[in-house]
């Protein structure tokens, strides 16, 4: 290269347009625009919507799609996704289980609940069962300390758990 060649000024890497978001997702995001004075403020709701579309997690293409839709730098959106515990960057099971083991739940047997899940599902924390059905993690306080031990399966709380109750709940998950 001759000494007079300028350094490249084009951004490299895959150029991803907003084509990744479905029409339904886009419509839902558009419906929120009137609620906020800035486009940036729609980001958290938009990520929830995108995560739902992508089956419970956010691959890089989903992140790039949301960034393009809201006209935000993709590094910024990536920073937001990696900050929050409810946004996942690796595949999850069809059912996502979060077991609180913070102090109040630990005082009432949360560790044993985690053991049961490990036994019944045959995988460790943050791993997906081979049939893609479930994944589980321990979690921080979910605000249900009076019904400890408890866990969250998808959007629902399951409270006052015992090992048998956990087994019953797992049986119902498809």
């Amino acid at each position: 290269m001759s000494v007079h060649e300028p350094a490249s000024m084009q951004p490299s890497g895959p150029q991803i347009r907003g084509g990744g978001l479905s029409d339904a997702s886009r419509a839902e995001i558009d419906g929120l625009r009137e609620r906020y004075p800035t486009s940036e403020a729609i980001l958290l709701p938009a990520l929830h919507i995108a995560q739902r579309q992508w089956g419970g997690w956010l691959p890089d293409e989903a992140i790039a799609a949301v960034a393009a839709e809201l006209d935000l730098p993709v590094a910024k959106v990536y920073g937001v996704v990696t900050f929050y515990d409810l946004f996942h960057q690796s595949p999850v099971g069809r059912h996502r289980i979060r077991v609180c083991n913070n102090l109040s739940c630990q005082l009432r047997g949360a560790e044993e609940i985690l053991e049961v899940l490990h036994q019944e599902l045959g995988v460790g924390e943050d791993e997906v069962t081979p049939d893609g059905r479930c994944s589980f993690v321990h979690f921080e306080c979910l605000g249900s300390c009076d019904t400890a031990p408890m866990m969250m399966v998808d959007d629902d709380y399951h409270e006052s758990l015992t090992p048998n109750r956990v087994r019953q709940i797992l049986k119902r998950l498809r």
């Binding site: 940036e40 920073g79 913070n102």
Partner: protein, 431 residues
């Protein structure tokens, strides 16, 4: 003491409260109706007079906070309701939102009218899906009935109220962390000053109040500040208070008492110690509150008394521990929580909470040394008062109290090179 009539939880257990019609029949929206006949400043004065202090953890006088909002019309004003409830041991706001959503909406509406905020965001932690669904339904009804929208109850005051779901971060319960998250960014607290009353959401003056704080407001308007003041310990600790009690008690749950109920009374009200065990320690106000010992069993659970005893009432999340509990293991778990939740911006919290978790883990696993206790205190000293936000100060609360009040447990861990308290099994035969 005279039997206390619940105020905040009076509609809990009444399914009709979930509908607008039912809520009204139970006396709801009277406070808002009254407020709309008053001058905004008069509402603020009434709330000030009532002595209502923030129920989210800081205990800052609500009326004073409202009065900081500038009166000028050049910038929009916002109310952000803090429904991020993530302090370990706290679950009272969830109870209020899932059982009496209109009470919160009414409180928010009155506050908005008082500070001339035309937009209110209810920032609900992302995990509270049921609360969000119930509140969305209640908001829909409120819009349809003209309680929200272009003219609140025909008054000409425009008010839009929206739910903004979080995505799993305790630090978003910090005022400016919440504002950052609302604006679509990482929930990293801001340098203060400027304070939210001057530069808040989207650069505009903003009030941020906890769910329970706002739920008190309709009742203050309906029954008056004097009535509110008549409940509680003294003029600095007034009103009804929700106490969320969990851990080793027979009937964990949310209990409403006049603020300043003694811990003993509260413990009895929750059925006493679980399985007839002995009280070893209790946390009066959530994970950030220094741990108290049984000698404090008669302590009045109000802001000032608990502070004087070397702890804090905080969110009034009471966690009770019996004699089978290892204090080191418990504090290690809390240290892990704070390390996980630290946003990572400032050096003392990012590095210090990480270090404290590692030291406590070592202690718990029998790899502690004699210098660990003093080292923990030294780390606490280097974090306290020097971090960017209060999470640093919160993180050192339990650790300091462990070293100060349970030194013999630490020594035992070090001496025996193992945890002297076997992990209790709660379920027989995997049942």
């Amino acid at each position: 003491m005279a039997a206390f009539e619940p105020v905040l939880t009076k509609n809990v257990g009444k399914p009709e409260a979930l509908t607008l019609k039912g809520y009204r029949q139970l006396g709801g929206y009277e406070g808002l109706t009254k407020a709309l006949t008053m001058e905004p400043d008069a509402i603020i004065d009434e709330v000030k007079k009532s002595g209502l202090r923030g129920r989210g953890g800081a205990g800052f006088p609500a009326g004073m906070k409202w009065s900081f909002i500038p009166k000028g019309k050049d910038k929009p004003k916002y109310l952000v309701c803090n429904a991020d409830e993530s302090e370990p041991g706290t679950f009272k706001d969830r109870l209020l939102m899932e059982n009496d959503p209109h009470q919160l909406i009414e409180g928010c509406a009155i506050c908005c009218y008082a500070v001339s905020a035309n937009t209110c965001y209810i920032y609900i932690r992302g995990e509270y899906v049921k609360s969000a669904v119930i509140l969305e339904q209640a908001l829909k009804e409120a819009y349809e009935a003209g309680i929200l929208g272009d003219s609140v109850q025909g008054s000409g005051f425009k008010l839009n109220m929206y739910i903004h779901r979080g995505a799993g971060a305790y630090i978003c319960g910090e005022e400016t962390g919440m504002l950052e998250s609302l604006e679509g960014k990482r929930g990293q607290p801001r340098v203060k000053p400027p304070f939210p009353a001057v530069v808040g959401a989207f650069g505009a003056p903003t009030v941020i109040n906890n769910v329970e704080t706002l739920c008190n407001v309709p009742h203050i308007l309906t029954h008056g500040a004097d009535w509110f003041k008549s409940i509680g310990t003294d003029e600095r600790n007034t009103g009804p208070k929700l106490y969320a009690i969990s851990g080793h008690v027979d009937r964990p749950g949310t209990y409403e008492y006049p603020i300043g109920v003694t811990f003993r009374e509260m413990l009895d009200g929750a059925g006493g110690m679980w399985r007839g065990r002995q009280l070893k320690a209790f946390i009066p106000g959530g994970a950030s509150a220094p741990i108290l010992k049984p000698d404090q069993i008669d302590i009045k659970m109000d802001f000032d008394t608990v502070a004087k005893a070397g702890s804090m009432l905080g969110s009034a999340a009471v966690i009770v521990m019996d004699e089978t509990t290892c204090m080191v293991r418990s504090v290690a778990r809390l240290a892990k929580f704070f390390n996980h939740e630290s946003c990572g911006q400032c050096t003392p919290c990012r590095e210090g909470t990480n270090w404290m978790e590692l030291v406590l883990k070592r202690l718990e696993h029998g790899e502690g040394t004699e210098s660990d206790a003093q080292k923990l205190l030294s780390i606490c000293k280097n974090i306290g008062g020097q971090s960017l936000c209060a999470l640093g100060d919160a993180a050192i609360g339990p650790v300091k109290s462990l070293v100060d009040r349970f030194p013999e447990e630490i020594e035992q861990h070090v001496r025996e090179r193992a945890c002297p308290f076997p992990q209790p099994r709660y379920f027989e035969n995997g049942a």
